[in-house]
Amino acid sequence: MARLWWRWPAGIVVLAATVFAGTCIGETAIPLSVVVQTLANKVLGAAYPLDPIDMGIVWNYRLPRALVAASCGAGLALSGLVLQSLLRNALADPYLLGISAGASTGAVTVTIAGIGGGAVSMSLGAFAGALTAFLLVALLARAAGGGVSARGTGQIILAGIAGSQLFNALTSFIITKSANAEQARGIMFWLLGNLSGVRWPDVTLAVPVATIGLVTCVWYARALDAFAFGAESAASLGIPVRTVQTVLIGLTALVTAVMVSIVGSIGFVGLVIPHAARFVVGVRHGRLVPATALTGAAFLIAADVLSRTMIPGQVLPIGVITALVGAPAFALILLKGRRRP
């Protein structure tokens, strides 16, 4: 471990640089000096005379977005990593647990079916829907004799598929029943992921949740290593299998639900980033966990910047970008993996 200590500060520097880049690049051109002066004004209490709109854009729009993008990227990537390791399934990702489908149903229930009469926000609906779906999937997996027990990790995957199908069908049902095309598009835009509504209050939610996720994963890094050889081997190594599984899968559900409720469901991050990180740092979780978090954070900031700058004056859903990059990247991983014995 002594050899590794410098990687943490290095990681933090890289993360800070990415966040800074995300703050500098946006829909409109704001000079670097203005960005730096804004940060100096706000953080160090300097008093550079700046245009309040420029200052506001940097401090109230771009910085919170970059911070939330980093948190979401890290959180989703870590969730993917945990599930891939625990379930020993390379295709596992956080939406496998029905969370994304449940969030969609929740959002649609609030906006289209009109539950809450406009007082409940779409994100609150999404959060409630995500947790409901996860609880249902977890109960189903448990009833099917698998759940988070040592033996049947396959059951939770199957339960997740069933749950996702059910909630996707519910979403379609609600949309078909009570929405017209014009109504549906607002939802679709949001569901594909969108960071434009992010402000400081979201930062105070996303950053702690991502941090808790990271710290917990680092704490359980050795246990995750043990799961590489299956739950029974992990148990024989003295790992409290049931506790670890319950804590980590619960954590995954919570992190994902929070992130989805803030930014919508952004695909591919949870699936692809852990694989990418594995290529670079190997399979040991002591390195893999921080590497995954960092890569996820940087990836989502970059995707957010791209989504806002690709079409000048207009915004693409970030989910489109992550899938555009994610799908080919995943194909590449598959091809490379094939060559390995």
Partner: protein
């Protein structure tokens, strides 16, 4: 000052000649309508409407007694049509089913938006209506120089103009053989528009810019704003105001960062009865503008130059003219000329 007067004179002249020239419709009447050819052997005796704009156009033509069912309501009917509208069955507040329309056995279905009866028609396709012998008429404002397969609300290849509204009124008048009334309605629309334009011209505006905010999917999220070729863009163009949005889509999503940077002179927000998103409420829009740390710094917000406009006037309908009037009056009231 001479130009508007001249235009007004020309309009009055057009009004006179129109009155003189209007002849009864010769049946069978064949029309090209949004890519379909429709034929009428006689004036329809009954009609069902899909879309408030089509309904109100028929009411304006004095054809309320021919309407046997209405649907797709966005807001209250115009007060002058309330008494006749109260007597007519409302098939649905939103999209009617195909069968509910057909059950009325109308001689014509008059439609506001292509997406109700287009290739992916929510109610049915035009072919389905034509197969059961019911002709359909789509208001040309939604199809002339507009590709409804691009973008969520379609994308215009040429800027909208109230000409297409006039055309819709005239064609409906021709179908129902009430051409004199049609010309009268059009002349009134033309005159109201020109009066409003003249009021704005008198202010001698210089470099005034604006943005139309329709709604947002969530409160802080990037808003839906008016593109540069639809009804709102036409209003701005006519009144000599620059639209800060540069998209051909009807209602593109544009970030607050871009809007705040463009710093428009005026912000026009939509008032509507719809309550799907919190931002549908114009009070919520006002609250956002006043409290958002960046939006609140815009000149329009700091100087309270926010105009509330009926959302239905922002669609390409006869109400577009009311929108121009509202905006022209607001320009006068806000004292922007100074």
């Amino acid at each position: 000052m001479t130009f508007p007067r001249l235009a007004l004179a020309a309009a009055s002249l057009a009004l006179l000649t129109a009155h003189a020239a209007a002849e009864p419709t010769k049946y069978p009447l064949t029309l090209e309508n949004c890519g379909e050819t429709i034929t009428f052997d006689k004036a329809p005796a009954t009609t069902v409407t899909v879309g408030q704009a089509a309904t109100e156009a028929l009411y304006a033509l004095g054809l309320g007694d021919k309407v046997t069912g209405t649907s797709v309501w966005f807001t209250d009917v115009l007060p002058e049509h309330k008494s006749i509208n109260d007597k007519i069955e409302r098939l649905a507040d939103n999209d009617p089913s195909f069968e509910s329309v057909v059950a009325k056995k109308p001689d014509l279905v008059a439609v506001q938006f292509i997406w109700h009866v287009g290739p992916e028609g929510i109610v049915a396709t035009r072919e389905q209506f034509h197969e059961v012998g019911i002709p359909t008429y789509v208001m040309p404002a939604d199809c002339v120089a507009k590709d409804n397969s691009v973008g969520v609300d379609g994308t215009r290849s040429a800027a909208f103009s109230t000409e297409t509204i006039h055309r819709g009124v005239r064609e409906l008048a021709e179908i129902f053989d009430v051409q004199d009334k049609g010309e009268e309605v059009v002349a009134d629309l033309v005159k109201r528009e020109q009066d409003a334009v003249e009021r704005a011209k008198a202010l001698d505006l210089k470099d005034v810019s604006a943005v139309f905010w329709f709604s947002s999917a969530d409160m802080n999220i990037d808003p839906y704003v008016a593109g540069r070729k639809g009804g709102p863009a036409y209003m701005l163009d006519k009144l000599g105001i620059r639209n800060i949005v540069e998209s051909d889509e009807e209602w593109p999503v544009v970030g607050w960062e871009t809007i705040a940077k463009a710093n428009p002179t005026i912000i026009i927000i939509a008032r509507m009865d719809r309550r799907r998103f919190p931002a549908d409420d114009h009070e919520k829009k006002l609250e956002f503008l006043k409290t958002d740390p960046v939006a609140s710094q815009m000149e329009a917000v700091k100087n309270n130059r926010i105009v509330v406009m009926d959302a239905h006037a922002m669609d390409a309908t006869m109400r577009t003219v009311s929108g121009i009037e509202v905006l022209a009056d607001a320009l006068v009231d806000l004292g922007i000329a100074k």
